[in-house]
């Protein structure tokens, strides 16, 4: 079993392994089996397509947290040029779980903010698995204010299991740090585009998620709590995570139907991790498209639209 593949990806993994094996054989013995390889490759694509057309919410939530899934720092050098990472909240410290800085998108100056998980164990620990502490949110806030001051569009990228639940985080006011960002973003005088690129976990995600356009990569998720957390609270059993994932409507498709997000950015067959270049291309063209549109909107209209968008969230009966 290949640990870099999820359980439902295993048939694909096996087929790919077979193709690799054949390639090895073919170079070795000069026998022409390229037909066979081509046939298997088509089969592999068909298999992937059939698996990926009927993904359950639980499978999507696994893809969103796939060990191979691209993180923000994988995208930044591919989408932006002149990226200058900026550090620190000027109050307590610098949080590696939250990355931010100045960059150019097709030459255009922007401010970039987002959570960063770690790839290997060492980086995971350093980045605290993408769970920011208050200083991370306050660094983000500092960059938001900078974006407003210098009229730079703000692009945020969400990928976090949630805000860090730790003693030090509570001591330094985790709640206040998140609340303050929600407050500030609601009236920040610059266009804001938020994109969920992996896991949109609860308040820790929303704290950089209030904007004029909310996008999601196709196989990312956005929810009020992790499926495991929801299952252990409501079902009193963490094994019910797949049911919880379904009930919470956390996939891009469902959230688009609920009009909570504007755009689903398509991922290549098999998910973002299978073809980073295509994902990057889709991501940056979506960002550019939204940015070009938002440019035409006056600041007063933009803020009014952002406010109205927030006010209409939620369903209730009124008699």
């Amino acid at each position: 079993m290949n640990l870099n593949f999820l359980d439902f990806e295993q048939p694909i993994a096996e087929l790919e392994a077979k193709i690799e094996e054949l390639r090895y054989v073919s170079t070795d013995k000069d026998i022409n089996i390229s037909d066979e390889i081509a046939r298997l490759q088509i089969k592999s694509q068909e298999l992937t397509r059939s698996i990926f057309t009927n993904l359950t919410a639980w499978q999507v939530s696994q893809l969103a947290r796939h060990p191979q899934r691209p993180y923000l720092l994988d995208y930044i050098p591919r989408i932006f040029t002149h990226f200058e990472e900026l550090h620190g909240d000027r109050m307590f410290g610098d949080d590696p779980a939250m990355v931010g800085g100045l960059a150019r998108l097709e030459g255009r100056p922007v401010v970039v903010i987002g959570q960063q998980k770690g790839r290997d164990l060492k980086e995971k620990l350093q980045r605290n698995f993408g769970m920011p502490r208050p200083e991370g949110y306050r660094k983000a806030m500092r960059l938001m204010n900078m974006a407003e001051r210098f009229h730079l569009p703000l692009l945020t990228f969400i990928d976090t299991p949630g805000a860090y639940p730790g003693v030090d985080a509570e001591e330094r006011g985790q709640s206040e740090a998140i609340a303050r960002n929600l407050y500030i973003m609601s009236t920040l005088r610059t266009p804001i585009i938020c994109t969920v690129i992996g896991e949109g976990g609860s308040g820790g995600a929303l704290a950089i998620g209030v904007g004029d356009r909310i996008c999601m990569l196709e196989y990312s998720t956005y929810s009020v709590i992790s499926p495991e957390g929801c299952a252990s609270i409501l079902w009193k059993n963490a094994d019910k995570a797949s049911e919880a994932a379904e009930a919470m409507n956390m996939t891009s498709q469902r959230l688009k139907e609920l009009e909570l997000i504007d755009t689903i950015i398509p991922e290549p067959l098999g998910g973002a991790h299978r073809d980073l270049d295509t994902t990057t291309k889709n991501l940056s063209s979506a960002l550019l498209e939204h940015l070009t549109f938002l440019d035409k909107v006056s600041m007063e209209d933009l803020l009014q639209m952002r406010y109205q968008r927030l006010m209409k969230v939620g369903y209730f009966e009124e008699t």
Partner: protein, 305 residues
């Protein structure tokens, strides 16, 4: 039922049922901290604060506003709003059934109650979370009522006060509930643009999404003594960091020490304190000069002794 209650003839016992459902049945209550047995009527007169150890017992939203606001004038806000199960959410129970059960148990339609009224003659808008309604969780109705309370404050140029008691966002409304954090915070920003004060009173318990939005955004954050206040629940933190949490962690006094709340105020002094703060923030004469002495609220007299 305690042995004493068993001794009471049944017709005396049933008398209790006519009063508020949120008040525990029976004539006697035990303070959960000092274990003193307290006469319920006395406890009620004392704002549900134990007269022996000053422990603040939980209050229902209506009890809270009942004791906070002057009896007249009062206007309840957003009464015609009721929750809707758009997602058809179902865990071990249907959300719809949970709602019906909570509505029956609390007599409220949802977990926030809001009023336009007065405190010691000072007009304001006040709202309170009903913790007994699905853990005071914030869904669309809570968010909408909060926004309407805020808008009423803006329309009438009044300060806003909110008493929070909540476990956070309501999971059964999923991301729609999470978004209420942004909605309420945006409304408070608008209140701020009109230079109207918002005083947030954090009561036991204020956690999760409610703590990480409206509750922390007060111009002044007040906590009731010994209330549990934080983002992540103590059990979650314990599981994450794998160590036992320090004594008093996430309690009001801890938050005061760490600079998260401004003041800890005893519930019995809340009205006076609120008026004193709000008259300064709105640059009005001190309460004693405001002609606010038609303060005939029963408990006020007691507290002034």
């Amino acid at each position: 039922m305690s042995w004493f209650e068993k001794l009471l003839p049944s017709r005396i016992r049933t008398d209790g049922k006519k009063t508020k459902h949120t008040v525990p049945e029976g004539l006697w209550n035990k303070c959960p901290v000092c274990q003193t047995v307290l006469y319920r009527a006395e406890l009620e007169r004392n704002f549900q604060v134990c007269p022996k150890c000053s422990h603040h017992l939980r209050l229902s939203a209506r009890q809270r506003l009942e004791s906070f606001l002057d009896p007249e004038p009062r206007e309840e806000l957003g009464i015609n709003l009721a929750p809707q199960d758009r997602l058809k959410f179902r865990d071990s129970k249907k959300y719809k059934d949970r709602l019906l059960h909570a509505q029956k148990a609390t007599g409220e339609k949802d977990a926030l109650v809001a009023f336009k009224g007065q405190v010691l003659g000072l007009p304001l808008v006040a709202c309170a979370f009903e913790f007994e309604f699905m853990g005071g969780s914030m869904g669309a109705v809570v968010g909408e009522r909060f926004v309407r309370a805020t808008n009423t404050a803006i329309d009438h140029h009044l300060p806003l006060v909110c008493f929070t008691a909540s476990g956070g966002a309501r999971m059964q409304e999923a991301l729609l509930a999470l978004m209420q954090m942004a909605k309420t915070s945006a409304a408070l920003n608008r209140l701020n643009q009109h230079r109207l004060p918002f005083i947030s009173v954090l009561t036991d318990p204020t956690m999760g999404g409610v703590s990480a939005s409206l509750a922390m955004l007060g111009d002044i954050n007040i906590a009731e003594p010994n209330a549990l206040i934080g983002f992540a629940g103590p059990r979650v933190i314990e599981q994450t960091v794998r160590e036992t949490l320090p004594e008093g962690f996430q309690r009001s006094e801890f938050l005061l020490k760490h600079g998260v709340v401004d003041i800890i105020v005893d519930r019995r002094e809340m009205r006076q304190k609120m008026v004193s703060l709000l008259t300064i923030l709105t640059r009005q004469p001190p309460p004693e000069n405001l002609g606010l002495s038609r303060l005939t609220h029963q408990v006020t007299a007691e507290n002034n002794q």
